[in-house]
């Protein structure tokens, strides 16, 4: 949550981060978004709501998540010290649950009995299904048919948790199409349904609200880092698909000008191949899914199909606040390709005994590139946003192994 000493105060009242963000939806959803904005603002100002949120983060999720000094790996790389924010240790195995608890509590406060969600890798779907079970709500998750194939274990987890998983066969059958379908459900069932968006995208107030719920990550780091190393890190590194784990860890660091903020996008098979998901690095501004932001699109404004080895980064847009942080120069955005991410995945398994999600492996890979260029007393804080159990299938398949 935003603190009083935090001078950064975007978005504006209509959800704009500079020229990005906003509310680009069909008229039917406008009143629903207004209702949501008012409900969220009231909840945010209500100490009882915040206490409930914090209680569940502590006792249900297991927060605060620790920060771990990857000493052996840092030593092998021979440069800066790498610290990992262990979001992978959260209940459900990723940062996604922080936001889901916030939105589900808000849904309950608004009297909505049915929640819907879109999911890419399945982590947001699992987190939504989990909190829906926890709060006794009906849950429907939209997932691209291609992602369902790639993430069979997560699909089964969602079903075990009582959710209905709806395969989306339209378009590229991935996250963006699942988002389209969830929006269609919401517009049809807007009276009794709460749409739990999983990332810092979508129409206002979603990018702000999801960021606020995820900002617990960076807020904890800001307290933990001085305890561990006596100061704040020199750089904070996180992977960026839609960008919720990155916004979560960046947010409280935005006012600290001495801390570099580095977002790592998925270069897939390489930027030049055209098969990637690096919206900021290789995209142009446009309007999709309710906000203006950087998009991967052709010259006619049609959205391009993306590629990344990690389903969670496979999205042609990015949260509007990242677009703004990029243009303003406050954050840097770099890329890591499939092979580099897989190498970092294997390295962290072998050297530290931690199996990271393929999404997080992109941030880890960039830290591994950056660390050797820096002095040994420099400190890199990497958001290890999720664990890699869900990726066993993908990684094994690439090594020619079938379960």
């Amino acid at each position: 949550m935003q603190t009083p000493e935090n001078s950064y105060c975007l978005p504006d009242a209509r959800g704009h981060f500079g020229k990005y963000g906003g509310i680009f939806v069909a008229e039917t959803l406008i009143p629903a978004l207004e209702e949501l904005r008012l409900a969220y603002e009231a909840a945010k100002a209500d100490a009882a709501f915040r206490a409930e949120f914090e209680y569940d983060l502590k006792y249900y999720v297991g927060r605060p998540s620790p920060i771990y000094h990857a000493k052996r790996w840092s030593g092998l790389l021979g440069g800066a010290q790498i610290y990992l924010k262990r979001e992978d240790l959260n209940h459900t195995g990723a940062h996604k649950v922080n936001n889901c608890i916030g939105q589900a509590l808000l849904a309950r406060r608004m009297g909505k009995k049915r929640v819907i969600a879109e999911t890419g890798a399945g982590m947001h779907g699992v987190a939504t299904a989990t909190v829906a079970a926890r709060y006794g709500m009906e849950c429907v998750v939209y997932m691209g048919a291609e992602d369902i194939r790639r993430q069979a274990a997560n699909v089964y987890r969602m079903k075990l948790l009582g959710a209905t998983v709806v395969p989306v066969e339209s378009g590229s059958k991935t996250l963006k199409d699942a988002l389209n379908e969830a929006m269609r459900d919401w517009v049809t069932n807007v009276a009794d349904t709460f749409y739990i968006i999983g990332t810092v995208a979508g129409p206002h107030p979603y990018p702000m609200m999801v960021r606020d719920f995820q900002s617990v990550i960076g807020a904890e780091c800001k307290i933990q880092m001085p305890e561990l190393v006596g100061r704040q890190p020199d750089a904070v590194i996180a992977c960026v698909g839609g960008g919720s784990n990155a916004m979560g860890i960046f947010y409280d660091y935005i006012p600290l000008a001495g801390v570099r903020l580095i977002g790592v996008e998925a270069a897939g098979l390489g930027i030049d191949s055209g098969k990637h998901a690096a919206s900021i690095t290789a995209g142009t501004p446009g309007v999709l899914h309710g906000n203006r932001t950087y998009l991967l699109q052709d010259k006619n404004g049609q959205i391009i199909e993306t590629h990344s080895v990690s389903a969670g980064l496979d999205y042609p847009g990015v949260g509007p606040e990242h677009a703004w942080l990029h243009d303003s120069g406050r954050a840097e955005y770099v890329t890591v390709d499939d092979e580099e991410a897989l190498q970092a995945f294997r390295d962290l398994c072998h050297v530290e005994g931690i199996i990271p999600a393929l999404e997080s492996s992109h941030a880890i890979a960039y830290a591994a590139k950056l660390a050797p260029t820096l002095a040994k007393d420099q400190v890199l804080l990497v958001n290890l946003s999720g664990r890699g159990d869900k990726d066993m299938h993908t990684v094994a398949e690439r090594s020619g192994i079938q379960f």
């Binding site: 680009f24 008229e27 699109q297």
Partner: protein, 268 residues
Amino acid sequence: MSRIPATFWRLAAASRKALIPFITAGDPEPGLTVGLMHALVAGGADIIELGVPFSDPMADGPTIQRASERALAYGVSLHIVLGMVREFRKQDDVTPVVLMGYANPIEAYGAEAFVADAVAAGVDGVLVVDYPPEECAGFAAQMKGAGLDPIFLLAPTSTAARFAEVAQMGSGYIYYVSLKGVTGAANLDLDAVAQRIPAIREKVGMPVGVGFGIRDGAAAARIAAVADAVVIGSRIIEEIENSPRDQAAVRVTAFLRGIRNAMDGGNP
């Protein structure tokens, strides 16, 4: 001024309501679109809504999404759609054409260039589904300045304050979305629509068209009794989908004629 106001004056003088069919430009293939537009006019269309295909049509149901995908498979861009309107205008300088689509292809084209080229091509109005009034004041003003009508949506969820806002920024007509849902949905409640329209008409001071979920002559006649225009989209796309390509134009004309008769008080 666009061709839209004159069309509604003429209809009002004859005590008739406007029939506004929607097709997606380039569906089922680009070479058929202009012929289909003329076929719509032959079937009794007063205004044509021409869909600009988009890869992510969030507000549309599966039927119009499929039409969009078929058109995009041929690479149908906004440039090509404007070319189709120019072609249509060679034989028909009377029937208004309204482009309907999403913001991103227009932004990629460049809003200013689009407005100028749309006017030159003979477009009369533009409805951008994901441009609510708060995000397009500048664009709407540009359109009005160039003689294009910015058409806005109102929905069953819209507040009274919203009616006034849309009335002030829009022109031509208001498109009332008859249900909570996407295009082509099956949950249309005619009574609820009939109840709502008079208040909207009074408030917005321009013609009100109703669309989303109108599938037959009986529903069209019922809507025509209270509104100024009836919009039919998905049902026509289905007609095109289910016709051999060389018969699509004839079948669309016949289908629309049935709707027209029902609206004019004949047998549905």
